[in-house]
Amino acid sequence: MTLQTDYIGKPTSRIDGPAKVLGTAKYAAEFNVPNLLYGHVVSSPIAKGKITKINADPVLALPGVHQVFSHENVPSLAWLDRSYKDDVAPGGSPFRPLHKPEIRFSQQPVALVVADTFELARYAASILEIEYEEEAHETELTQHIDEAFEPGRGKTGYQPPKSRGNFGRGWEQGVAHVEANYSHHAQHHNPMEMFATTVEWLGDKKLNVYDKTQGAFNSQQYIMKIFGLSKDEARVISKYTGGGFGSGLRPQHQLFLAVLASLELQRSVRVSLTRQQMFSFGHRPETLQHVALATAEDGSLTGINHFAVAETSQFEDFTENVVGWSGTLYDCKNVKLGYRLSKLDVYTPLDMRAPGAASGSIALEIAMDEMAYAAGLDPLEFRIRNYSDFDQAQNLPYSSKNLRACYREGAAKFGWDQRTPEPGSMRDGNLLVGWGMGGGIWDAQKQPALAKVSLDADGHLTVSSGSNDIGTGTYTIMTQIAAESMGLPIEAVTFVLGDTELPEAPVQGGSWTAASVGTAVQEACAKLGEQLLKQAQKMDHPAFKDAKIDDVQFANGQMRLRSDLTQAVVLRDLVQASGEPKIEAQNSKLPGMVDMIKPPKYSMHAHNAVFVEVKVDPDLMTVHVTRVVNAVAAGRIINPKTARSQVLGSVVWGISSALMEESVMDHRFGRFMNHNYAEYHIPVNADIHNIDVIFVHEEDAEVNPLGIKGLGEVGLLGVAAAVANAIYHATGKRVRDLPVTIDKLL
């Protein structure tokens, strides 16, 4: 179906905006079902050891307390590890809450106190006496590099990095070299909405589960397998999510605990985590990296070596693609890549916005800046000289790649040609000015997804898919795609999501929702189109008698003959004439699944280039990011408004990880100590200044019919490195351990 552009590509305000602003959008902890009980989680104060005693009696004696759940009284549940694995679980043996007395990480949930009120549950939890036997824990990655091992495939989609050529030879061929270590610390997603689950007990094991998640079906599968529930018994609903960033990709402790309590007590139960407990699960892993680069006389890269060691838990091997990008982004024959994990007494890390790539691009893109200086080249010119026109890692051509335009348009907008290369050479009054750049690459992914469309006799189209909107704009762009496909005004389309009663969709992650669910919606609309044509033919509409689907188009609420646009029938009339209340269609998962297993013909990626200005006080060494231009090549942009918001947010994230963000662990306790919003610093408005977002033109018929590459993550890449590079340009100080806090610049 060819796309017209009534809606696609037009800036469209969030359809869910008014509901959010007016407070009618309800989040998981806001469903006040009748007779609700409240559970409060008790978290372990130690990082390793075991519980020797729980004295629940004084707590149970409090009027209004219903139960204290712990490993001592949890009923026998599913036994196999497999039952605890969710769609996004890495290899290993998933953590089971309240399963055993063993403590495996600090803040491990050790008990759930359930009471009549939230306040009582919280108080009762605070006085629950638990005795522990402590054991020595190991949480310091730098002390455990030697034990690091190469992980297997483990997690779905993870590919171990592949080296090529001969790095040693490439290094020797080079005339200029750089080699250094880079690091960043753990980070927590910290979405505004804290994790919460409200389980509504409908009687007889039948539950409505309002969960904070990035994937209702993932949560449903998880509780079905663990608690032996049927699909009907375990309906999961998640219509609004107050930020995810990856934290909701895996079911969190509170889901398990709330369902457990509800089934045991046969009551509706809500469990919400506190902000402090938001530091009790997955995080972006601390990663130590080493990069070595060599260039020939002409500035071409002769060798790239990128090695990373990251933390994981004792029970699961969390893998992400940290170093693989270094074999794709630039043209180079000799690439050596390595990635290892070290097991520590921490909870399993978790995908966090642009997982792997955000980390890897810090090291690679700072190293590229260092290399440009060592080779005597402008950092942008250096990258252009090493532009990759063919994916050497996959040995495939790119389906499309317009990174060149990102470089060109970004640099022009920023005024990069005015840059003088010498560190400390640019000033604004007394302040040091630094200009730095970076960029990155992200997979254009697609997952099989289902969508259903239903046109009623008033001409209103309801589109549904059990996807999620973590604030990315899914509601809005799916409405646009459907309105565009069916030629209906946008007001005549309603998109519903976040419910396991709807057609199945994957978790929202990997920036694949627009492509996956968008394609599903488009396919379902195409099917509906066929049905509508059949209906017209049934009605003996003369103009459509011999028409094929390609002969008609949908516009202005009508189906029209392409060859003669005056030959038209109103869609509403087709439904009315059918004698049915509505005409429905659903796409099939098959094409999506086939796409997944077919050997790829193209390398499909989104790219970006980012230019950053910092101003640094030369005495106090305070840094301000005063200007950012981020140019993104991500295929077709369905909604420039929500897309721009995604990139703005990404830039803020990049500034955050460059300058502030860090979960600080005290290794004596194996515990994150700045576990609150006051001390876990992310930027405030005053830290954010001018940000320009450019979407360069990129057409791609190969990624998917809509030409979407997804952009929830790509905008973050290279931002942190560009900030660090700008700081170097301003001050001559090369900081390779992020965040670049004031102490590192003094």
Partner: protein, 341 residues
Amino acid sequence: MNSFTFAQAPAIDAAVREKAGQPGSAYIGGGTNLVDLMKENVERPTHLIGLKKLGLDSITASADGGLRLGALATNADTAWHPEVEKRYPLLNQAILAGASPQLRNMATDGGNLMQRTRCYYFYDLATPCNKREPGSGCSAIGGYNRIHAILGASEACIATHPSDMCVALAALEATVRVSGPNGERTIAFEDFHRLPGDSPERDNTLEPGELITGLDLPAKGFEKNYSYLKLRDRTSYAFALVSVATALELDGGIITDARLALGGVAHKPWRDKTAEALLIGQPATADTFRTAAAQVLAGAKGQGTNNFKIELAKRAIVRALKQATEMNQVVDDNAFQNSNP
């Protein structure tokens, strides 16, 4: 959080009596610190005595030409009071450098003095802390102590007092007015907060049951030459790594009076009178400023992750004194906040 009762006290003497009569009770001002501590189970009062009905929220001229701030005046009302803006701009700046507008709208001046340290370990019951549980040990020593003291710390505690407002009050030589079971008294600001010594559980010199009723600012407000410089991990809404409150009187380039106090570096707002003496009578030049800065930090001791604060404090002092002298400078890095078109 434990369960507690709450009542607004009708009058000052009634509040004081209620406090004396109910062990485990606590005064509550805006609640912006106390309620947080209750949620973390750091404080577990069984009864809260509300102070909003005591009529202590006004700001009035005092007989000696100064200004009296009621203990229940909010931080926001204090900062934006015309007399404060005009005569005590240093105090205005210090208050506005703290917290966020929402917090300042709730926070009271009395509560600001009484707010407790932001030491990570003090807030987390899973770790030992002498201030929270005397004798249990100080986890910050040898741990993560980025926001901890470099001056006046002890082996029992290296916490800092987190207030911005109080740094200005120390520099301005305010007086604290209190009412207690034994009647009324005043406390010089420098004697109000204390160093931890071997009893870090005590933040200040209030006697049990005493209520802060107000603050007296002396007539002299240093409205011509002053600076509050706050350095922190982000541009707003973060506690000071180091802050400097300074006020000068100048006569043809010579310093005739000087005040210098630091925040974020000690268990109390750190005023250094020796350094002030080194400034007085000297030309307002970078050399003079550096000499004073060296004096303030002469006895400083880093604890590991906060070592950088010694150098940072020196530079901040020099900058703040320069700003106070010139008064035509970017006053602090808040200036970046308005640079957006």
